[in-house]
Amino acid sequence: MTFLALTAAQAGLLAATTVAIIIGLYLLKLRHRRVLISSSILWRRVLDERQSHSLWEKLRRIISIVIAATIALLIALSLARPEIESLTGKNERIVIVLDTSPTMNTNTSDGKTRWQHAAERAKSLLDSGGPTTEFRVLDTAEVTASAFTTDRNEVRKLIDTMSSKSAEPHFPRVDGRAAQVYFISDGVAIHSTPSFVKRISVFEPANNVGITAFEIRSVPSTPLGYEAYLEIQNFGQPTEAGLTLSGPGGQRIIKTVRLETEQTYKDVFDLSQFAEGGIRATVQAKDDAFPMDDVAFAYLPIKRKTRTLLVTKGNRYLETALKLDNYVELSVTEPASYRESPNIDTYIFDKFAPNAPPARPALIFGTPSAPWLKPVAGEIQKPEITTWSEDHPIMQYVSVHDVAIERAARIDADNLTVVAASKQTPLIVVSEKPKWVMLTFSLEASDFAFHVGFPVFIENVLAWFNRDQLALKRSPGIVDVPLANAQVQTIDGKTVPSEQQLGKTIFLANEPGLFAALRGDTRVHVAVNLANPTFSDVNRSIFKTDRTAARQQFWLRRELWFYMLLAAVVLISIEWFTYHRRITL
């Protein structure tokens, strides 16, 4: 027996003192009430007979002392929080790491999912611990991280609230020296664990045909045309799979393919007959155990040419780039001839800006002086681009880290979104309302126009100004949209709870789906698809249950002091009952 609250010596001293006090109190003779009776003849007969015949009468006093001492000892020693390893287990800490990767949603042969099996195993681990065992539960999505607690019910409730997440799993940081760490997983998504981790596998082979890639892309030969690229793979037994692409106007493409084990099927579908909107791809296969990758979404925008007015004194690079853009219908004019026109979709000002902001969006190169633009506060020589936002739509697929700039204007970027900046000044800023994008350097003062990303940048800006864009690609889990203060809706128009964080809108998407983030006239589509062969390959488990993961079950579910106090209460009740009936003294 060990004591958690006292040392062995202190506990021994406490016990000895308690027993001594109890025996001392018993030895302090209780003064008997003196009662005069007429004759003791009959009492003598009764008592002599009883005392001579009853062992109980002889032992009664000793038993009373023993009971009282036992009660006192139970109470006193319960304060010391005793522990008997064979009854209650060791005082230890157990960390349970539950794999919440998407593959844990795979169905098993008994109708449950791997996650449900994992939760059951976690609860059985709770049952295996002693009363003083502290538990902590973590997940691989870094969503759940409880503190150490001995309250199993609390941990049980926490496990019940947990679920398999769609986020990319990571084994959490755990100190293996201070606790035993159990990892309950199917061993698919997380491939390596620290050596001290005891692994418990809930893996069971399953059939799965999943979509591993789905996207809508432009047709190079047809500038305004789109096609869908679909890739599916069979991770189970050979089977036939049915593919379906459906559009918002009732358009549908259906195809059936035979897939051998590990075979991948790739196909491209012409979407010229499809209306603008969400495109849904589904795959159906017999005994498919992992439904999460059986559906994927994309957004089909409708393309049209942007009527663009370039206002410049002459900029060959820019003019050439715009003329080469298949989506641009270009007009060029000098600043002196500039007139705002309702037939223009976008203005591009090269080192020029009108006195009033145009009614349509504008891309501005250099930092011309205008009342609606930020005033120039100086000039920075050779600024280096140190930060840029890849998430912003105008910066998608644009690399600016090696852009050399000779000089740039210093401006105050208050109320503007900075998408690229040096340490000294913003270099590319965006105004949401009125809608314009400004580069604080001119193309002549940089080599940006010679970079491969420049046409993409122009295309992104024009698309952001006027066009519907392809949906952003995201994985299930926490999804971020680079659009601040936006309202998120499903493709059916239902609002999804969202939060704002660092200029982005964040929402949770546990299932694949097509979402739209809306703010004013701005609409950003987000296609949330699993489309990840790592997750779809639900049979690629890398471990089995470790032999050391088996645990001994203990009979007592609470700390020993609880049972000691309970026993003391029972003994007090018995003593009370027997004392008042003068069975004990």
């Binding site: 009430r33 003196r34 009662v35 009776i37 007429s38 004759s39 009764v46 069975i583």
Partner: protein
């Protein structure tokens, strides 16, 4: 007479005595006052038997009619009629002071009542107070007028000492005494056993009547907890813990004790009446009468 005495033998008590006297006469109607048949043959009026005449017999008792018929001298025998000596042995040991009212007070009343009836029947009433010996003895009294003397004697009895009935009765009976009715009024708590004491009275051929007085506190003691029981007679104490089972055992023992006395009395055809101190004494007296030991 002290206040206690006045309470014990007050007017109310005297009225009850008169009532008992009348009741006793009604119960035993037809019996003559002071005419108690004895085994002696003598000069009484009640015919007893015949026997042959022998020289020296009183001629007045010859049955001449029988002589004429049988031609033999036959003497008529008559029962001797004499007053009945009644001995009231009142236990005045310390244990008799127990109870509320005390057993001694109750014994005094019962004794006084029986004495009154005895005196009214012209019997010779003797009252003896005993404990571990004869403590006091009242000379034989006769006639109703002596009742107040008996009252005074009874009131002067003080409780004290251990009970030793055998020694007391032996002392009394070794003196020359006439046989009579011995009424023992006691709580029967005698460490040496009451049977041996009653044997003494039995052996001298007294007609014996035992009035066993108990108090409620003895029959059903209301004791609880840790107690030091002190014997009122010898001050011997004993520490005990009263438990329900112990009380039950005591009650069983008390009943066994009473049954033993009753059984003894039944075995030797002794009169026996057990009472408790709150039982009306007049009822007890009538109960005694109904047993037929008095007023034969």
């Amino acid at each position: 007479m002290s206040t206690a005495n006045v309470t014990l033998f007050d007017d109310e008590f005297l009225k009850k005595l008169e009532y008992l006297n009348i009741i006793s006469k009604r119960l035993f109607a037809g019996q003559l006052r002071a005419e108690r048949r004895t085994r002696k043959r003598g000069t009484g009026l009640e015919f007893a038997d015949y026997r042959a005449y022998v020289a020296g017999d009183d001629f007045r008792h010859l049955d001449w009619k029988a002589y004429l018929r049988l031609n033999r001298l036959i003497l008529k025998l008559f029962e001797e009629e004499e007053d009945l000596p009644i001995y009231f042995f009142v236990d005045s040991s310390q244990s008799m002071s127990y109870g509320n009212p005390s057993k001694l007070d109750y014994a005094r009343r019962v004794c006084a009542a029986l004495c009154y009836i005895g005196l009214a029947n012209l019997d010779r009433v003797n009252v003896i107070s005993f404990a571990n010996g004869i403590k006091s003895e009242m000379p034989p009294q006769r006639g109703k007028g002596r009742i107040f003397k008996i009252f005074r004697f009874l009131m002067e009895i003080t409780p004290g000492g251990e009970t030793h009935a055998r020694a007391s009765f032996k002392t009394y009976c070794t003196e020359t005494r006439r046989r009579g009715l011995a009424v023992v009024i006691s709580d029967m708590f005698d460490g040496n056993g009451f049977e041996s004491a009653l044997d003494i009275l039995r052996h001298v051929r007294h007609d014996i009547f035992v009035i066993h007085i108990a108090s409620h506190e003895e029959i059903d003691p209301m004791l609880r907890g840790e107690l030091q029981l002190v014997d009122s007679e010898n001050n011997v104490s004993r520490e005990i813990t009263i438990t329900p089972s112990l009380l039950a055992a005591y009650r069983a023992e008390f009943n066994k004790y009473c049954e033993a006395i009753e059984s003894y009395c039944g075995k030797y055809q002794l009169g026996y009446a057990r009472t408790v101190t709150d039982f009306p004494f007049e009822e007890l007296v009538l109960k005694v009468f109904r047993q037929g030991r008095f007023l034969k």
